[in-house]
């Protein structure tokens, strides 16, 4: 028996318990308790009748760089990031969609260069591409693209490059991201941070 079915049985039991109280008990307080039990049982049944979706934290997928042989491998990782940790599909679609809230990304890999895409993902306000009409002048808050190398999404450089590779692949373009562009974890240790004002400041996200 599935978990939802078990929970439905429990809820039905609560409703049944309430009905029995109303049928056989005369004491007012207990009758009211039975009535409340029926209401709460029905509430749970209703909640169990809608699609059951749990929200899991993004899985910590460790990509073995040495296993990546071709740009197509990079794009496959990018596809996974696009629909999971990157949360891109929450707003964007690939192809026309009624429910998309932000620009359709179909063909974006052919339209924009790798560097431009990288900048759009990490510094979205650097250059606002006048392709997507918001219904007026862009305002301070509404529907701004977040910098996805920062929290709460916080993609690594490799993950961003993988997403770009996926977008290029989706656009039917040759993938410009090379395996050699990816950073090997041991080589990406942040440089020592010096005191404020120093010229040398570690920035692990700088491409």
């Amino acid at each position: 028996m599935s978990e939802v079915a078990q929970l439905q049985l429990i809820s039905l039991g609560i409703v049944g318990f309430g009905v029995l109280i109303l049928l056989f008990i005369k004491a007012t307080f207990l009758r009211v308790t039975g009535f409340v039990a029926i209401v709460l049982g029905l509430f749970s049944l209703m909640s169990l009748a809608v699609p059951q979706m749990a929200s899991l934290p993004p899985a910590e997928e460790k990509v073995d760089i040495t296993s990546i042989k071709t740009p197509t491998d990079i794009a496959a990782i990018g596809q996974s990031v696009f629909f999971s940790k990157g949360q891109c599909a929450l707003c964007h679609s690939i192809g026309p969609s009624e429910s998309a809230r932000c620009p359709d990304l179909k063909g974006i890999g052919a339209k924009l260069s790798q560097d431009f895409l990288y900048e759009s993902l990490t510094d979205p306000q650097a250059f606002v591409y006048q392709d997507y009409r918001h219904g007026g002048v862009p305002k301070e808050y509404p529907a701004t693209m977040p910098a996805i190398d920062k929290d709460p999404i916080g993609l690594s450089k490799n993950e961003i490059l993988a997403v770009i590779a996926f977008l290029q692949q989706m656009s039917g373009e040759p993938i410009s991201v090379k395996v050699s562009d990816l950073e090997i974890p041991s080589q990406t240790q942040p440089a020592p941070v010096k005191a404020a004002g120093s010229a040398l400041v570690a920035d692990a996200h700088t491409p």
């Binding site: 978990e3 007012t28 509430f43 909640s47 979706m53 929200s55 529907a143």
Partner: protein, 619 residues
């Protein structure tokens, strides 16, 4: 490997693999978990690698235990903060209007406060201990950010406690002349401190959802920046109104239960009237609540669109269908109670208003059906292919915000008109301008309803940003305009009206008592549901985007399993409130049995019901 790490590596993968939604087992083992409390720390994270970040508890799990205790504390706090507003309003009505029974009602509810206040503080204390024990790293961080406001909170508690004691114990001693004025001022102070007691911890909670972190400045400056975060004031206003609603409906439910159990006609009259007042105050707040909710959601979208989408379009989107159902039942229950009042308390009015009530019922049901229409339907692949997607070709049109905003505004208008109808029942206008006045009010209502619908339909053809910023806001303003114009006009009209049918208290059928209980349960369920929504919208973050939840419980359970915990919290809270009422009225019952009696009982028609005050009641 620590116990916490082991759990993380078993709970989350099993959820992923089994498509399990977590929490159901916990809901069955709540009782066992309470017994297991002393074993906190059994699953503390490793001690060698650094400071402990999380601790756990067997069976129920730390997250579920904190969830339940926090929810109960919040519900009790809502009750403890809502009742003084309710009581103070009643005292002011008695003070200015001279109706003693309002003063008696205010006193009856203030009496609850001392025991309710202690119970709330008890749950607050338990919550604090659990948070410090289970989430030391998070609490350390929050303490670092909010240290100055912790001190302020302690001070506020001292002031609130002292004021409550003076307010309650000084009730009889401060009944006349300037002393009464002082007592009313104490009631105001009680609510003033209570407001701050609410908004200070609101800052801690809202900071977790919409943090503003500055690394420079003094401790006070950092705390102030974190306090004044984007969702702080929307939550403050939303909770303030919700507390009034909760206080009103719980008063109504108490009156409903007593009405069902008392035998004497005097008692039936008293509790019937009390139920009416509770329902009235509940509805009064309920009309404003959706506006505050809309503002809160708007601020969430503006702060972080992803969080807004997670709530309204992501995994929590179905929650809002359940929310619509609960609010719909609450509106139906409140209107039904008004209609029962017209039918049974004002003999002869039923025939006059029967048609209107039927149309209102049909309209409310239609609005509720639209509000509950999901944007995407649960459909098999074959069904989806037939429909051409997840959206139904006809119903899909009703599942969008434009339609939902329109019907929610219409439901508010209908409920308001139910109240006006009740207010006017049994009166005959005598003012010379009555005909013109009624025509103006009718025109305002009809034009406003048309305007709300037109804006709703127009909303389909404009960009979302225009709809959200202008159309939805205009709909809200139109409804507020209707309430603010028709209320004083009706009051003015009824000032000179002749009472044709005296209101008969104590004649309501038993289902009226049950409808009051239903309304209270709906409000409590709504609070538990939205508590889950607000917490889940942070997804796997303790402090959104700043401090990640790395515990095994960094997931949000599905709505079905969460609903059982919500139902448990609601039930347990109802039992707690019943216990508080029982304890607080134990002395009265003893006195009544000893022959001292209940004293005055209500007669005549309350001013809020549109009736002329009974001269004998004037103090």
């Amino acid at each position: 490997m620590s116990a916490i790490q082991q759990e993380r590596e078993t709970i989350q993968p099993s959820l992923r693999a089994d498509r399990s939604h977590g929490g159901w087992l916990a809901s069955l083992l709540l009782a066992a978990a309470w017994l297991a409390l002393p074993s906190i720390g059994v699953a503390a994270e490793g001690t060698g690698a650094g400071p402990t970040e999380y601790r756990d508890i067997p069976y129920i799990g730390s997250r579920n235990l904190v969830w339940i205790v926090a929810q109960l504390h919040l519900l009790l706090a809502g009750f403890v903060l809502g009742v003084p507003i309710f009581a103070w309003l009643c005292e002011v009505i008695a003070w200015r209007g001279g109706e003693k029974r309002y003063d008696k009602l205010a006193k009856e509810f203030t009496k609850l406060l001392t025991s309710a206040y202690a119970t709330t503080a008890l749950f607050g204390g338990i919550l604090l201990f659990l948070l410090v024990a289970f989430y030391p790293k998070l609490m350390n961080y929050l303490t670092d950010v909010f240290f100055p406001s912790f001190l302020l909170y302690c001070l506020l508690f001292l002031l609130e406690t002292a004021t409550l004691y003076l307010y309650w114990y000084g009730w009889d001693a401060m009944q006349h002349g300037r002393k009464k004025t002082l007592h009313v001022f104490l009631g105001f102070l009680l609510n003033f401190f209570a407001l701050f007691i609410m908004i200070v911890p609101n800052a801690w909670a809202t900071f977790q959802s919409s943090p503003v972190v500055i690394s420079e400045g003094t401790a006070f400056e950092r705390a102030w920046a974190a306090t004044w975060n984007p969702t702080w004031w929307p939550i403050n206003i939303h909770r303030l109104i919700a507390n009034v609603v909760l206080g009103g409906y719980i008063c109504g439910a108490y009156a409903g239960v007593r009405y069902l159990s008392v035998k004497s006609q005097e008692d039936r009259e008293h509790y019937d009237w009390m139920g009416y007042v509770g329902n009235f105050i509940g509805v009064f707040g309920l009309l404003a609540l959706p506006f505050a909710g809309y503002w809160l959601m708007r601020e969430i979208y503006q702060y972080n669109q992803q969080m807004g989408i997670t709530l309204m379009g992501g995994f929590l989107s179905w929650l809002f269908i359940i929310q619509a159902m609960l609010i719909g039942v609450l509106f139906l229950g409140s209107n039904y109670y008004f209609w029962l009042g017209i039918t049974y308390r004002i003999p002869g009015s039923e025939a006059k208003y029967r048609k209107a009530m039927l149309w209102m019922l049909i309209s409310l049901l239609f609005c509720l059906a639209v509000w509950m229409t999901p944007h995407s339907l649960v459909a098999s692949i074959e069904e989806a292919q037939k429909m051409g997607g997840a959206h139904h070709p006809l119903l899909g049109v009703l599942g969008v915000m434009s339609a939902k905003m329109t019907v929610s505004n219409l439901m508010i208008l209908i409920t308001f008109m139910s109240f006006v109808m009740y207010w006017r029942a049994g009166k005959q206008d005598t003012a010379g301008w009555a005909k013109l006045g009624k025509a103006v009010m009718g025109a305002i209502l009809v034009l406003a309803s048309i305007a709300v619908i037109v804006l709703g339909v127009w909303g389909y053809f404009v960009p979302a940003i225009v709809r959200i910023n202008y159309f939805s806001t205009s709909q809200v303003l139109i409804v507020i305009f209707v309430i603010l114009t028709i209320t004083p006009l009706t009051a003015l009209l009824l000032k000179s009206a002749k009472t044709t049918t005296e209101m008969v208290w104590g004649s309501m059928p038993p289902r009226a008592g049950y409808s009051l209980v239903l309304n209270a349960v709906m409000v409590i369920l709504l609070m538990t549901l939205m508590g889950y929504a607000r917490s889940s919208s942070r997804v796997h973050w303790h402090v959104y985007g700043v401090m990640r939840d790395t515990s095994p419980y960094a997931y949000s359970p599905a709505l079905g399993s969460a609903s059982l915990i919500m139902a448990f919290c609601t039930f347990f809270f109802c039992i707690l409130v019943a216990f508080i009422f029982w304890v607080a009225t134990m002395g009265d019952k003893y006195k009544a049995a000893g022959g001292t009696g209940k004293g005055e009982l209500p007669h005549g028609i309350p001013a809020m019901a549109g009736g002329a005050p009974d001269e004998n009641q004037k103090g």
